[in-house]
C-alpha cells in the first residue's frame, strides 16, 4: 500500500516529465491521474480495513526489508493512525495542488509536475518511514523538488527564497543526521549491533546532557520546518515566492512533517530531555503564536500575511506537543489537519486573486466583493476558519490545544490565548482589505470557474466536517497518542 502510493507518485512524475515533450497538457493529466489512482487505492484500503484501523493499537501495515545490513539499515516502513491521516491529507492537498496549477503553470509543465509528485512521494515517505535512515532519505527527497519548485516557477525573488529555504532545512537536517548517528551509536554500544530502526532506537533512551544534545539535533530540524520563531525566517520568503501549489504544499504538508517528527521521534525518543525542555518549548510556542499574529497584521503582501498566520498557527502545535497530555495531542493533530486545509485554502485564494489581478499587494485591492462574490464568500469562510470560529476545524483544534496546555502551564496558555484575539484582528483585516472598502482600481475579473469551485468546495466540506464531527480524526490517531504518552509515562517522572 505505502509502496504502491510512493511508487505510483514517483512513476507518475517521471512519466509526466518524459511525455511533456510531446504534449504539455498530457503531463497535467498524468499527474492528476496518478494522484487519483493513489487516492482510490487508499480509499479502497481504508474502506475494506476501516474496522481494523479503528480497533488496532499498533502498526497497520508494515514493510520490512534489509537494505544496507552493514549499517543495520533496513527498508522499514509502517503506517499507524497518524500516518494514515497525514497520507490522506497529503493526497487530498496533492490533488488540489495539481488542480490549482492547471492554469497557472504554462511553462515547463513536465518538470513542474515531476517535482510536485516527487515532493508528495517524499512527504508520504516521511510519514511512513520507520527506519531513521530511510526517514532522513525521504526528508531530503521532499526538499530538492521543493527547491526547484520555488526556484523555477516562483515569483520575482524566487532564487533568494529557494536558497534560504534549502539552506535552513539542509543545515538543520544535517544536525538531525548527526543525532541519528549518535542514536545508532548508543544502540551499538548497548547491544553490539548497528540499527537505525525506530523500534530498536526507542529502547535507547539516552540520558542527561547527551540526551539533551541528541534531542536538540532532532528538534532543531523539526522546529525549523514547523517553524518555531527563531527559525521561522525562511518561511515568509519561501511561501511568498513559491507558486500557488508550492505554497499550498509548503503550508499544508511540509510544515506538518515538522510537527509529525516531534510527535513521532522527539518525544518518544527523549521523554526525559523533552520534559526538561518543555517549559521553554511552550514559551517558544506562545511567542510564535503572538509574533506570527502581530507580523501577519502588519503585512501588506497578501501571501506574506497568510504565511505569518502559519507561524502563528504552528505555535499552537508547539505549545500542544510539549504539554504532554491527551487533550493537547488531540488538538495538535486536529490543528495539523485543519491548518493544512484552511491555510491551504487561503493560499489557493491568494493564488486565484493573483491570477486575476496580478498583484498581491493589499493596498491595491479592495472592494472585490462586488466583482467576485463567490470568491469573497469562500474567503470569508476561511478567514473565519483561520481565526478559529466555532463550527470550523481550527476552533476544535485550538480549543483542545489550549485546554490541554492549560493543565500543563496556566500562564503560558493564558498568554497564548491572546493569539486568538490577534487572530481575529488579522483575519478580519485580511477580509476587509481585500473584499470590502472602496475599489482602488477598476477591476474587471471573473469569478470562480468550475475547476476552482470544485477545489474550494471540497476544502469547505472538509473544514466544516472537521468542525462538526472531528471524532473520526481523533479516534484514528488515538493509538498513536497513547503510544507516545505511554513512552512518556514509562521514562519520565512528572
Amino acid at each position: 500500500m505505502i509502496i504502491l502510493i510512493i511508487s505510483t507518485l514517483m512513476a507518475g512524475g517521471l512519466l509526466a516529465w518524459f511525455l511533456s515533450k510531446t504534449n504539455a497538457h498530457l503531463s497535467r493529466i498524468i499527474a492528476l491521474i496518478s494522484l487519483l489512482l493513489c487516492s482510490a487505492a487508499f480509499l479502497y484500503y481504508f474502506i475494506t480495513n476501516h474496522e481494523i484501523i479503528l480497533a488496532s493499537s499498533g502498526w497497520l501495515e508494515e514493510i520490512h526489508f534489509t537494505w544496507i545490513p552493514q549499517f543495520g539499515i533496513s527498508f522499514h516502513m509502517a503506517m499507524d493512525g497518524l500516518s494514515l491521516l497525514m497520507i490522506a491529507l497529503t493526497l487530498f492537498l496533492g490533488i488540489l495542488g495539481v488542480l490549482a496549477s492547471w492554469k497557472e503553470i504554462t511553462e515547463r509543465t513536465g518538470f513542474y509536475y515531476f517535482n510536485l509528485l516527487w515532493i508528495l512521494a517524499g512527504i508520504v515517505g516521511v510519514f511512513t518511514a520507520l527506519d531513521l535512515f530511510l526517514f532522513f532519505f525521504f526528508w531530503e527527497i521532499m526538499l530538492i523538488p521543493m527547491f526547484f519548485l520555488i526556484g523555477i516557477w516562483g515569483h520575482e525573488n524566487r532564487k533568494y527564497a529557494a536558497y534560504k529555504f534549502f539552506l535552513f532545512t539542509q543545515a538543520s537536517g544535517l544536525l538531525m543526521l548527526l543525532s541519528i548517528l549518535g542514536m545508532g551509536l548508543i544502540f551499538y554500544q548497548n547491544t553490539g549491533k548497528f540499527s537505525y530502526d525506530y523500534i530498536d532506537l526507542l529502547t535507547v533512551q539516552p540520558e542527561g546532557t547527551l540526551g539533551l544534545l541528541l534531542m536538540f539535533g532532532f528538534l532543531i530540524a523539526f522546529i525549523v520546518k514547523l517553524p518555531v520563531v527563531p527559525f521561522h525566517n525562511w518561511l515568509p520568503d519561501a511561501h511568498t515566492q513559491a507558486p500557488t501549489a508550492g505554497s499550498l504544499i509548503l503550508a499544508g504538508l511540509l510544515l506538518k512533517t515538522g510537527a509529525y517528527g516531534i510527535i513521532r521521534f522527539v518525544v518518544p525518543f527523549f521523554p526525559v530531555a523533552s520534559h526538561q525542555f518543555a517549559p521553554y518549548a511552550m514559551v517558544l510556542g506562545a511567542i510564535g503564536i503572538l509574533y506570527g499574529a502581530v507580523l501577519a497584521f502588519s503585512q501588506t503582501d497578501l501571501k506574506r500575511l497568510v504565511a505569518y498566520t502559519s507561524v502563528s498557527h504552528m505555535g499552537f502545535v508547539m505549545l500542544g506537543v510539549f504539554a504532554f497530555n491527551e487533550l493537547a495531542y488531540q488538538g495538535v493533530v486536529m490543528q495539523m489537519v485543519s491548518h493544512g486545509i484552511s491555510t491551504g485554502a487561503l493560499f489557493l485564494l491568494v493564488g486565484m486573486l493573483y491570477e486575476r489581478t496580478h498583484t498581491r499587494d493589499l493596498t491595491q485591492m479592495g472592494g472585490l466583493w462586488q466583482n467576485v462574490p463567490k470568491i469573497g464568500a469562500v474567503g470569508l469562510l476561511f478567514a473565519m476558519a483561520s481565526l478559529g470560529l466555532p463550527g470550523l476545524g481550527n476552533f476544535i483544534a485550538e480549543f483542545l490545544v489550549l485546554s490541554g496546555s492549560f493543565q500543563a502551564s496556566k500562564v503560558i496558555t493564558a498568554v497564548a490565548s491572546i493569539g486568538l484575539v490577534l487572530g481575529t484582528i488579522y483575519s478580519l483585516r485580511l477580509f476587509q482589505r481585500v473584499f470590502q472598502g472602496s475599489m482602488h482600481k477598476d477591476w474587471r475579473i471573473s469569478d470562480l470557474s468550475t475547476r476552482e469551485a470544485i477545489v474550494m468546495g471540497s476544502l469547505i466540506i472538509a473544514i466544516v466536517w472537521l468542525g462538526w464531527y472531528p471524532q473520526p480524526v481523533i479516534d484514528i490517531v488515538q493509538p498513536t497518542i497513547q503510544l507516545v504518552l505511554d513512552q512518556m509515562a514509562m521514562h519520565a517522572t512528572f
Partner: protein
C-alpha cells in the same frame, strides 16, 4: 620471492606495463587515433578483469609490494576510472590537431603508477610508484601544447611536485635513519609508544609530501591552477586516480603503523582535515569558473576523507574507500560533462555558459545535476552514502568536533553547488550554443554508466560495501 609462480597475481600489472610499450611500437609504425582509443579501452578492461580474477586468490608475498585484496580493489577502481575517462575523451582529442596517441600511453603508465602506489608496502616502492605517476602527469597536464595555460599548469605542477617529492624523501630518510627499515610492517614493530623527534619530523615531512598529492590544505595552492590549465580528461585523472593512489597507500601505511594511536599524528591530521574542509568550501564560494570550483570542492572532499582516516579502528578504511569510490564516479562524471561540452574553441569553463542548459539539453543537464547533488551529498546519490559512511565511522570513533565541522561544511558546500544547479535551471536566455552529445557515442555510454552508478551506489550500496569490507584491513 619467486615471481614466476605468482604470475597470475601479477597479470594486471604486467598488462599495464606491456600495453603502453606495445602501443608506442604501434604508434611508431602507424598512428591511428581510433585504434589507440579502442586499444586503451581494452587495456583497462583487461586490467579490471584480471584484477577481479586475481582477487579470488591474493596474498602473494613479493618484495616491496603487497598483492592483497585491497590492492586489487583499488586497481579495479583505477582501471574502471581510466576506462570511463578514456571513454569520454575520444572526441575531445579528435577535435584537436595535436598528436593524440601519446595521451593514452601516458595515461596507462600513470594508472600503473597509481595502482603500484596502493600496492606498496615499502617506502622505496611508494616513492617509485609515486614518481611513475608524477612523471607521467607532468606531460599529461601540459599535453595540449598550444594551450598556454596547460604549459603554465605543467610547470607549476612539476616544480611543486618535485619539491613535495623531496619533502617525502627527506621524511622517509629520517624514519629510515631512526628505525633502520623502510618496510611498513617492520616499521610498525619498531615504533614505540612514543615517537622520537626524528620520527615525528619524518612523519611531518611525509604528511607534507603526501598532502601535496592529495591537495589538502595547506598544501593545496597548485590545485585550482592545475585543474584549470590541464585539459578536462587529465584534470579528471588528477582529481581521481592520482589522488586515489595516495589515499590508498596512506590508508595502508596509517593502519599498519597504527597512526591513529599517536596523538601528535591525530592532531596534525585533524587540523589538516578541518583546514581543507573550510578552505575548499569557502574559496569555492567565490568561483565562477567551474573547473576551479570543482578544484576547491575536491580539496574539501579530501578533507572529508581525512576524517575517515582518523576512524580507521572503526571502519574508517572502509568509509574512506567507499567515499573514494563515490567521489571517483562523481568527479569523472563532472569532468566528463565538461569534456563532452568542449569544442575546438575551448572548454566551457565559465558558469555563465551553463545558463539555461537544462531547457536545451535536459539529459546532459540532468546528469550534471545528479553529479552535483552527489558532490553535495544529497540523498539518492552515491555522495550522500559516502558522507553517511564517513560520518558513521567518525561517530563510532567519537570524532564529534570533526563531524560538526563536516556538517557545517556540507551546508556551505550546498550553497555553491546549488549555484551551479540554479544556473543550469535558470530561465534566462543564453545565446551560447553547446555541442551536441550523441547518445550512442562513447561519451554517452560513459555518462549513462556514471549516472546509473551514482544512483545505484546511492540506493543499493550494500553489495559494494560488502566488497570493500572484504578487501580492506
Amino acid at each position: 620471492m619467486n615471481l614466476s609462480e605468482n604470475i597470475g597475481q601479477l597479470t594486471p600489472f604486467i598488462i599495464m606495463v606491456v600495453a603502453p610499450l606495445l602501443l608506442i611500437v604501434i604508434i611508431s609504425i602507424k598512428r591511428n587515433h581510433l585504434f589507440s582509443w579502442l586499444y586503451t579501452l581494452l587495456t583497462f578492461l583487461l586490467v579490471a578483469i584480471t584484477a577481479l580474477l586475481a582477487m579470488e586468490n591474493p596474498l602473494a608475498e613479493i618484495p616491496l609490494f603487497a598483492l592483497d585484496k585491497f590492492t586489487y580493489f583499488y586497481t579495479i577502481l583505477f582501471s574502471s576510472a581510466g576506462f570511463l575517462i578514456v571513454l569520454t575523451s575520444y572526441r575531445y582529442f579528435e577535435n584537436r590537431t595535436e598528436q593524440k596517441d601519446e595521451f593514452y600511453v601516458l595515461l596507462v603508465m600513470a594508472t600503473l603508477g597509481s595502482s603500484a602506489l596502493v600496492a606498496s608496502r615499502n617506502f622505496v616502492s611508494l616513492f617509485l610508484s609515486l614518481e611513475v605517476l608524477s612523471v607521467s602527469l607532468y606531460a599529461l597536464i601540459a599535453y595540449l601544447r598550444k594551450n598556454e595555460l596547460g604549459i603554465e599548469a605543467g610547470i607549476k605542477y612539476l616544480v611543486l611536485a618535485a619539491m613535495s617529492s623531496s619533502f617525502l624523501l627527506f621524511g622517509i630518510a629520517l624514519i629510515y635513519l631512526e628505525t633502520g627499515t623502510m618496510d611498513f610492517g617492520i616499521l610498525a614493530e619498531s615504533l614505540g609508544p612514543n615517537l622520537s623527534v626524528w620520527i615525528l619530523g619524518g612523519f611531518a615531512l611525509i604528511i607534507a609530501g603526501a598532502g601535496f598529492k592529495l591537495s589538502v590544505a595547506p598544501f593545496h595552492w597548485w590545485t585550482p591552477d592545475v585543474y584549470q590549465g590541464a585539459s578536462s580528461p587529465v584534470t579528471s585523472f588528477i582529481a581521481t586516480i592520482s589522488k586515489g593512489g595516495m589515499v590508498g597507500v596512506i590508508i595502508r601505511l596509517f593502519s599498519s603503523v597504527k597512526g591513529y594511536e599517536y596523538p601528535s599524528l591525530v592532531i596534525s591530521i585533524s587540523i589538516i582535515a578541518i583546514a581543507s574542509m573550510f578552505t575548499g568550501n569557502i574559496l569555492a564560494l567565490l568561483q565562477n569558473n567551474i573547473k576551479r570550483l570543482l578544484a576547491y570542492s575536491s580539496i574539501s572532499h579530501l578533507g572529508y576523507i581525512l576524517v575517515a582516516f582518523l576512524a580507521i579502528p572503526q571502519n574508517g578504511a572502509e568509509a574512506a574507500t567507499f567515499y573514494l569510490v563515490a567521489y571517483f564516479i562523481t568527479t569523472i562524471g563532472a569532468f566528463g560533462i565538461i569534456t563532452i561540452l568542449s569544442d575546438q574553441d575551448g572548454e566551457p569553463e565559465s558558469l555563465d555558459e551553463y545558463k539555461g542548459m537544462f531547457w536545451k539539453k535536459p539529459w546532459l543537464a540532468a546528469c550534471f545535476s545528479l553529479v552535483i547533488f552527489s558532490l553535495a551529498g544529497i540523498p539518492l546519490t552515491a555522495g550522500f552514502l559516502g558522507k553517511f559512511y564517513v560520518a558513521s565511522a567518525g561517530a563510532g570513533a567519537g570524532l564529534w568536533i570533526l563531524l560538526t565541522v563536516l556538517v557545517i561544511n556540507s551546508v556551505i558546500g550546498v550553497y555553491y553547488y546549488l549555484r551551479v544547479i540554479t544556473t543550469m535551471f535558470s530561465t534566462e536566455k543564453n545565446e551560447k550554443t553547446l555541442p551536441d552529445l550523441k547518445l550512442l557515442s562513447g561519451a554517452g555510454l560513459a555518462l549513462l554508466i556514471i549516472a546509473l552508478a551514482i544512483i545505484w551506489l546511492g540506493i543499493l550500496p550494500s553489495g559494494i560495501i560488502e566488497l570493500i569490507t572484504r578487501s580492506t584491513f
